[in-house]
Symmetry: D2
Subunit: 177 residues, 4 copies
């Protein structure tokens, strides 16, 4: 597929970031790497911890409010526009809203050639990697491991439980171009 | 002005980032903060230090190549598209190409209401702040202090030499809406 | 003074870190820079947010518990031991316990030649810089600005309200060796 | 063993940091985590890239000079002193000097109870993880994978090639106390 956009969905600590960096290294063309985490970092500081913006609960549950959703829609449209303007973009996201998260991207994508990638990781392994990353608020990895994939359709799926990021990236890259 | 896009231009260590964060805090609506530094971070690692991408010389001189320019054009178009899609975006940049840097943005902007902001800082003060930031490769702050403003036209200009970021932000914010 | 240890005390956002980096740049000998923030980062993740360790309240108030105090005492002793072993160390701290914080260092220091430095910053200016740093939990800068200096004796004091970090560093450096 | 000091040695990208964080989580007592990377960050900026300090070559080779060695000796002595003062410390290091690196620690340790841990990782796997971390200057992981273990004696050795950090940490923790 002559994709311009690669959308990678997976739970927290499933290994998305490592796969994205490996993809940038193995793909022939230069691809930009953007993440929903970059979007959150771009928000005003007072939206973090606010019901209007994004709240992370003590058990790792994430809830977002209307200001988050509004700016997220604008950001999504902008990322797709980068592809329309000739760029190649890998974006990683966490589909907390399930099928509605995928639909939100589909509405923005239109006819931009897109490769949908699912990154799986066994919940107990993701939970261990969350500890290894030094995260204080535990529970997020395990909580998101399965739910983010419910009802989502992919072009390709990888599982980082027993496979290195670079190997996953090679598998994904073989579906590009 | 009912701006949707605020473009902040200034040399390295002139205080752009601090002003952007203060702007996000004082403006009534939520604004996304994006930076040319975010763009550079989104590039494949092998473009950093490559003539195809971006090279920072020992004296702080920056040179960019064709792969950088191509992805930068796509990124710029995407940032403007975020505004067209209903978002409000503050972007900080370093106009190393002078008037051609501003023209590059103008070509993408079209009719999106934009506030152009110049951030000045006396070269010797910026150089001192570069040391305070712990930067190894010195010289960038002094080298860029004046050159990034040559031939650029602004709606408003601030100088961080003797004025705090928050005060500068209030001055800028008074021109928004 | 032929100091081996420079202890820099000041409130949050008073400009300690910038001064420390400038000091490293202007002092003739190589000095290590250590911070109480490094100590906090070295703690187990589950002590952050725990009454046993360190809790930062919504208004920026900091409280620490017994596990924090015990490890802090060991860390303090170790920092001083680096000086005894021939190293030169600049350490920045926040004397939240007032004179007892200074006494804690004095007990560890023994006969190691020490330069005591106080870094002042007007509370409203420190509060503005806290916003410029993008900190979510505001209030810490203003809360600490005066209280950390109560009853503390210094060899030299600087004020970053209207003086750049590099200038402050030159002033401090003139008291070393 | 009633260890007060755990020294973890392994090459770049072998997974030391993740193991250290997991160890902090699974050990009953609170342990401080310090790293040779923290030491490098504490050096004056002008020692990075200088033959007096530390130079990282284009192929990932590391060479250090006299100023580095002098401050490193002081830092090492200080870390051990933290244990003598009642602290528990996990330190991760890269024994680029082979047996002389271990001897340097032994000279400082004296009678402090120490658990020596070797972290292995297959060179090609470490090299892949280096790419996943987004490191530009490749080659370091592969170059260090075997050489850092030559002639070193350990109390326990783990291999992260096919074992998660948390599992390695549990294995190590079973040797503590």
């Amino acid at each position: 597929m002559t994709a311009r956009l690669i959308i990678i969905n997976g739970g927290s600590s499933s290994g998305k970031t490592g796969i994205v960096r490996c993809l940038q290294a193995v793909l022939a063309e230069p691809w930009l790497a953007l993440s929903v985490d970059d979007f959150v970092d771009a928000l005003p500081a007072d939206l973090e911890g606010s019901p209007e913006g994004i709240v992370i609960g003590p058990g790792g549950e994430v809830s977002v409010g209307p200001a988050f959703r509004e700016l997220e829609a604008a950001w999504t449209a902008g990322v797709v526009a980068m592809c329309r303007a000739g760029g190649r973009v890998i974006v990683d996201d966490v589909f907390l809203g399930g099928t509605s998260s995928q639909q939100r991207w589909r509405d923005a994508i239109g006819d931009v050639e897109t490769l949908w990638v699912g990154v799986h990781c066994a919940p107990e392994i993701a939970a261990g990697r969350e500890i290894a990353r030094g995260n204080r608020a535990g529970g997020m990895a395990e909580k998101q491991a399965s739910v983010v994939h419910e009802g989502i359709t992919y072009d390709i799926e990888v599982d980082t439980s027993h496979t290195e990021s670079l190997t996953c990236a090679h598998t994904i890259a073989s579906h590009v171009r």
